[in-house]
Structures are given as structure tokens and as C-alpha cells.
């Protein structure tokens, strides 16, 4: 186990962001954004470049102050004390090059209020967990990029924070370490801790996130359960693996066919059930019948496209 489970917090929101706004040079970078993070979830903060994700994260981290609105962590307005409950992995990684792996972990842990003996023990366990115990006395400058990224990930969780904010955590990692990190994220979630995952990689969001918030041009454009959003954006089409002849089908506008498989795009007002009924009546053997939900990638492009119009 990489962390102790969190106890006694109920279902109270870990983080509440209400109506935060930030302008630089008369340009609104973040415009009236609100969302909350619940205990034990992986939350995707997504959006195109320059949408305002990093500015939002910096306000959550108290690196910059919002012009209006407020950020509450564990029900309290952000303060020096609440900072100890948050772990932050910025997009561009940095550690002190001259410090050793152990010194880096201990220094960041100390700034997060972890007592030295406990920090030493945690650092040892975490290094063991990611298979880097042998490198504990190496200087950061001697590590490979992927290794130093793993260390930075450990600095984000060494103080057992309830909320972690990770900006593109998988960039530069090989597949083995990517899997290791994903496992650790699931483990953290299982303990009731929450992770805000800021990324461009929609497949990671689909794989990891429970809920998402999508920001574009400083405004929130999508917010909610990933499953619910996907069903909201489903196209009126079905995927079909079959044997036999499809023939003419009522209510199908167009179809894309391959031998033994097809995607049927339905006319407005036609339901997938009505099509299935016709197929069954014709005696077509159906191996798969799936209402298609678009990949998040497509939803992303669609929503960004809409807000450009």
C-alpha cells in the first residue's frame, strides 16, 4: 500500500470552486468557473491549449489569487494550512539538480509539514514501491528524464495529501512506468483521495476519470459524469456484427459497411430498438449490437468547434 486510507471525511466536497475569475492585461483568462471535487475520484480537467486550465490550477494551488470567486479546500478558504493537504505535479517538471533523490523528497515533504522521521520512512517505502530504492543517494541530475519524473510524482504524494493535482503526469514515461503510475492513481482513489488530472490525452481521461470539467476560452463548457456526458453526445448510430443479409432498413439514413460489420446512422426519430426489431424479424444473426458513443476525443473537438462558431 502506498498510502494510508483517508478516514472520517464523509462525502463532503474536498474542493469547491465557486465563480472564480482571473484577468491578465484586461483579458479574461478564467471566466466564472465553478466545480467541485468529491472524495475518492479521479477528475479530468480538460481543454485545448490556452483554455485557462493552468491558471485555474494555479488559483487552486494559491499560487495566484482569483479576482473574484473563492476556492475552498475541505470546507475552508484556501490558506497556508490547507496547502499541506494538496499535492501538485506541474506540467514542466523541476527538482533541484544538485540534491539527491532522498534530499529532494525530504525537502518537499518538510515544506508540506511532514515530520522528518515520518518523511524518511515514507520516502523509503515509495522508492521501494516504484523500484527506485537503489537510486536514493543519486543526484537528480544523474537520473534519466523518466526517472526524475517518477521522483517528482513521489514528491506530489509523499505527504499523503487528500487532493492531488497532476498536470500531464504520463508525459515522458515509458509504458511500464505509465502503468505503474495508473495503478498508483487507482490505489489513491481507493483510499478516498482525489486526483485532478489535467491532460490533452483523451484516451487517458476515458480510462481513468470518473468525472470531467472541460474548459474552453476561460469558460466551463462541459461538466459531469464521464458516462453521462458520453451518452449525452452519442450519435444516433449503432455498431453491428452480423451474419446474413441486412437488406433495406427503414429509418437508416446512411450505412458504412464492411464484410460482416456495419455502422448504421439512424434518421431523426428512429431509435436503435426499432432497427434491432427489423433485423430480428429478418432473421439476421447478430453477434454484436452496440449503441455507439463517440470517443471523448470527438466530443472534445465538437464542443471546441461549437464554441468557436
Amino acid at each position: 500500500m502506498i498510502d494510508r486510507p483517508v478516514t472520517g471525511q464523509g462525502n463532503k466536497a474536498l474542493l469547491e470552486i465557486s465563480g472564480i475569475t482571473k484577468s491578465f492585461d484586461h483579458t479574461r483568462v478564467v471566466d466564472n468557473i465553478s466545480f467541485d471535487i468529491r472524495p475518492g475520484e479521479i477528475f479530468g480537467l480538460i481543454g485545448p491549449n490556452g483554455a485557462g486550465k493552468t491558471t485555474t490550477i494555479r488559483m487552486v494551488m494559491d499560487i495566484i489569487k482569483p479576482d473574484t470567486g473563492q476556492v475552498k479546500v475541505l470546507g475552508e478558504i484556501l490558506s497556508e494550512a490547507t496547502k499541506d493537504n494538496i499535492g501538485y505535479l506541474p506540467e514542466e517538471r523541476g527538482l533541484y539538480k544538485k540534491l539527491t533523490v532522498m534530499q529532494s523528497l525530504l525537502y518537499i515533504a518538510s515544506l508540506k509539514g511532514v515530520e522528518e522521521g515520518r518523511a524518511r520512512q515514507r520516502a523509503g517505502e515509495l522508492l521501494e514501491h516504484v523500484g527506485m530504492a537503489a537510486h536514493r543517494n543519486k543526484k537528480v541530475e544523474e537520473l534519466s528524464r523518466g526517472m526524475s519524473q517518477l521522483i517528482q510524482f513521489l514528491t506530489t504524494i509523499i505527504h499523503e495529501p487528500r487532493l492531488m493535482i497532476m498536470d500531464e503526469p504520463f508525459a515522458n514515461l515509458d509504458p511500464v512506468n505509465t502503468e505503474l503510475l495508473k495503478e498508483m492513481l487507482f490505489e489513491l482513489r481507493g483510499q478516498g483521495r482525489s486526483v485532478i488530472l489535467s491532460t490533452h490525452r483523451m484516451n487517458e481521461v476515458e480510462e481513468l476519470c470518473d468525472r470531467i470539467f472541460m474548459i474552453n476560452k476561460g469558460r466551463g463548457v462541459l461538466y459531469g459524469e464521464l458516462k453521462e456526458i458520453k451518452s449525452r453526445y452519442r450519435r444516433n448510430s449503432v455498431f453491428l456484427d452480423y451474419q446474413g443479409e441486412l437488406g433495406e432498413l427503414k429509418g437508416v439514413a446512411t450505412r458504412r459497411e464492411q464484410p460482416g460489420a456495419a455502422e448504421l446512422i439512424l434518421e431523426d426519430g428512429t431509435t436503435p430498438g426499432q432497427i434491432l426489431e427489423q433485423l430480428v424479424r429478418r432473421g439476421v444473426t447478430i453477434n454484436r449490437y452496440e449503441v455507439s458513443t463517440p470517443p471523448l476525443h470527438d466530443i472534445f473537438l465538437q464542443v471546441v468547434g461549437e464554441s468557436h462558431e
Partner: protein, 407 residues
């Protein structure tokens, strides 16, 4: 167990990492080594030019007559020859080192011809001195009493006494001696300011370039970060100065045979040490907060180094005009330099060694320093977060001030 104070944690981190830097260790050792080298060179040079190490014989031919007494002048013995040929042969045989001829018309012309095998730009002072005294004493012999002759030989032994406004003997008598320590202190202050501001800028630059600053600011407040950094690096600078000052007794011991006598005449102005410490701390703090603000607004540590020069040059500037200060210690320009915060620390230290600095000027200069430190610190804390995160963009001065007042 309660975690340690975060300011202290940053202080400790900055202190330990500054002290462990190779550049810091080299600089700490180099200054005493350079001083040691200086003493070595002084000894060697003064050893070379030391006029007479062993007893020497100098020949002379007396054509004027009457120069036959006082032939022993310190380590130089004057040997009379009857004619130049004999003296020349003795010189060739190396029985004498050189010889001189007093011509018959010496009394009217004063000309004395000197013959030597050495190539030299200028006659050695010891030989000149010996010949001079020999001629003088022989000329005066029998004419005036011996005591008068001795006085003619060295007529002036000047003793200056500085009086206070009320006509009493002043406690500090000035002179080069009392100038030495203020001079050394102001040099050390300048070195400490330059090195510390460099370390501060390099550190901030590194943290800005690799985004560590975001992790730091997500863990501690701007105030804690700045205070920890300024004090940590400042303490490292102080350790450096303590090492330099601490090595002084050893160096002075080595130097005592040559310059030690001079240093023993040193009298420090009353309260100098207290003022030196006050100005040292205020001077360092001012430049540290300026460095921090420059670190915040500049896009790279290199740009920061260039910008900070605008501020460190005025700090050093009083040292450039040190000779002018010695000649005109009470020129109004010095009052300006004493009160202007950037030049104050060094200007005051130098002036204290040369002249009295009126209390109102000290008060005004300390007050402006304190006000400047607080003002720069406040501006820095307010703009720090905003501009630290604007990588690659440096705001104009106007914008920084607007931000500072807007918050």
C-alpha cells in the same frame, strides 16, 4: 510532532545549499589567500629593495679636503683612496662595491661623481643616504654643536593633533591607520552584496526555469519564501565575511614584521563597529530584496544578472572616488551619497574612516535605507507571484508599480 516552521525550512535549505556551492567555497578561501599572496609579494619586494643586507665598503677620493670623519655610516663603511686610479683598481678587484670622487670645487658646485659596476635606474637609497650624511656631518663638524648638526640632518618630525570643536584633543586622531578598517569593511560589504545577490538571482532563476517555484509557492507563502531565501543566503554571506575577518589575526601576524607596526597605530572611531554592523545588515537587506524583485521580473537568471548591475554599480561607486573623498571629505556630494540608499552603506563606511559624519546625516541615511527596504519588500511580495509565473515576459517598470499598488 509539529512540523518545523516553513520559513526556517527554506532558510536552512538555502543556507546549506549556498555554503556547499563550489563557487562559495572557492570565494571564501580565495580572499584570505589573495591577502596572503599580497603579504608574500610585499615581503619579497621589500626584501629585494632592502638596500644593504650585509656590510658594504664604498670608496671615496677627497680632492676638496676635510672629509675624513664619520666614515662609518650604518652598515656602510667609507674607505678613503688617494686617487681615482687606486679606487678604480680596488673596484675591479671587488674590494669595494663602488666609489665616489669629491672634486676640488665641491663647496661651490656640490657635484660628486659616483662610479659603480651596477646597472641601475636610480642610486640605492641606502648608499645615497650614507653619502649624504657623511658629507653633511663633515661639513658641519666644528661649525655647530653636535646636537644642532643632528637637527640639521633631520629638521622636521611632524606630529599632528586633531582638535574637537571646543578646542580639546579629539579622541580619534584620524590618519591612514583609522582609514584601514573602514576601507576593508566597505570592500567586504561590496563583495558580500555582489555575491549574495548573485546567489539569490541564480537560485530564483533556476527555480523559475525548472518551475520548482510553483511547487514552492504551492507549499509556502511568498513572504515565507522570500524571508527564508534572503536570510539563508544572507547568513551564508555573513559566514563568508566571518571567515575573512577571522583569518585577519593570522594574516596580520604574518605581516607584522612589515606592516604590523603601522596597523598597531590604528584607532577606530568610537561606535564604528556598531555602525559598521548596522550598515552591513541594512545594505545587505536592501540589495537582497532588490535582487529578489529583479529575480521575479526577469525572464532568465542571465537577464537578472544584467539588471542587478544597474543597482550594484552605485553601491560600489563611492570606492571609485575614494581619493577625492580623502582630499575633500566634507564636500556636499558626500552628503548626497550618504543619504541615497544605494550608495549609503559603502559611502558611510568610507567617510567614517576619514572624517566625522554628523549624526543627522547618519540618522537620515539609516531612515532612508529602512524605508527603501520596506518599500521594495512590499512591492516585491505583491508582484512576485504574478511575474514569477509569466515566463519569458518581462514587464516594464510602470507596469510593476501599477501591479504593486493594485495588488
Amino acid at each position: 510532532m509539529k512540523a518545523m516552521n516553513k520559513t526556517y525550512l527554506i532558510f536552512r535549505h538555502e543556507f546549506v545549499n549556498t555554503v556547499k556551492r563550489t563557487g562559495f567555497i572557492i570565494m571564501t578561501l580565495v580572499v584570505p589567500l589573495v591577502a596572503l599572496l599580497g603579504i608574500g609579494i610585499y615581503h619579497t619586494v621589500s626584501g629585494i629593495s632592502k638596500p644593504v643586507a650585509e656590510a658594504e665598503k664604498v670608496g671615496y677620493v677627497d680632492k676638496a679636503g676635510g672629509f675624513d670623519q664619520f666614515t662609518s655610516q650604518g652598515k656602510i663603511t667609507l674607505v678613503l683612496f688617494n686617487n681615482p686610479d687606486d679606487a678604480n683598481q680596488a673596484l675591479v678587484r671587488k674590494e669595494i662595491k663602488e666609489y665616489f670622487v669629491i672634486p676640488p670645487d665641491y663647496i661651490s658646485s656640490g657635484v660628486v661623481s659616483r662610479y659603480t659596476m651596477q646597472k641601475e635606474l636610480y642610486p640605492p637609497p641606502a648608499v645615497m643616504n650614507a653619502i649624504n650624511t657623511f658629507l653633511l656631518k663633515n661639513l658641519l663638524a666644528g661649525e655647530v654643536p653636535a646636537a644642532t648638526a643632528a637637527r640639521i640632518e633631520a629638521p622636521l618630525n611632524l606630529v599632528t593633533v586633531t582638535l574637537t570643536a571646543s578646542g580639546e584633543v579629539a579622541p580619534e586622531q584620524g590618519g591612514f591607520g583609522s582609514f584601514v578598517f573602514p576601507g576593508i569593511f566597505s570592500l567586504l560589504l561590496v563583495l558580500a552584496i555582489i555575491f549574495s545577490s548573485t546567489y539569490l538571482l541564480q537560485g530564483l532563476g533556476e527555480e523559475k526555469e525548472n518551475r520548482l517555484i510553483e511547487i514552492l509557492l504551492s507549499s509556502v507563502s511568498t513572504g515565507q519564501l522570500l524571508t527564508g531565501k534572503v536570510l539563508g543566503i544572507g547568513t551564508a554571506g555573513l559566514v563568508q565575511v566571518v571567515v575573512w575577518v577571522g583569518s585577519a589575526p593570522l594574516l596580520l601576524n604574518l605581516a607584522s614584521s612589515s606592516i604590523g607596526g603601522f596597523l598597531s597605530t590604528v584607532q577606530l572611531p568610537a561606535g564604528f563597529l556598531i555602525l559598521a554592523i548596522i550598515y552591513f545588515i541594512l545594505g545587505y537587506l536592501l540589495f537582497a530584496v532588490i535582487s529578489a524583485s529583479i529575480g521575479a521580473v526577469s525572464s532568465s537568471s542571465r537577464e537578472g544578472q544584467q539588471l542587478i548591475t544597474i543597482f550594484t554599480l552605485p553601491a560600489v561607486s563611492p570606492l571609485w572616488f575614494i581619493s577625492l573623498l580623502m582630499m575633500f571629505p566634507n564636500n556636499p556630494v558626500w552628503i548626497g551619497l550618504t543619504i541615497f540608499p544605494l550608495t549609503a552603506p559603502v559611502a558611510v563606511m568610507i567617510r567614517l574612516g576619514v572624517t566625522d559624519v554628523p549624526a543627522w546625516q547618519l540618522a537620515a541615511s539609516i531612515a532612508t535605507l529602512v524605508v527603501s527596504i520596506i518599500a521594495v519588500l512590499m512591492i516585491t511580495v505583491r508582484v512576485f507571484r504574478i511575474y514569477l509565473l509569466m515566463y519569458g515576459k518581462r514587464p516594464g517598470l510602470g507596469k510593476v508599480l501599477v501591479m504593486a499598488f493594485k495588488g
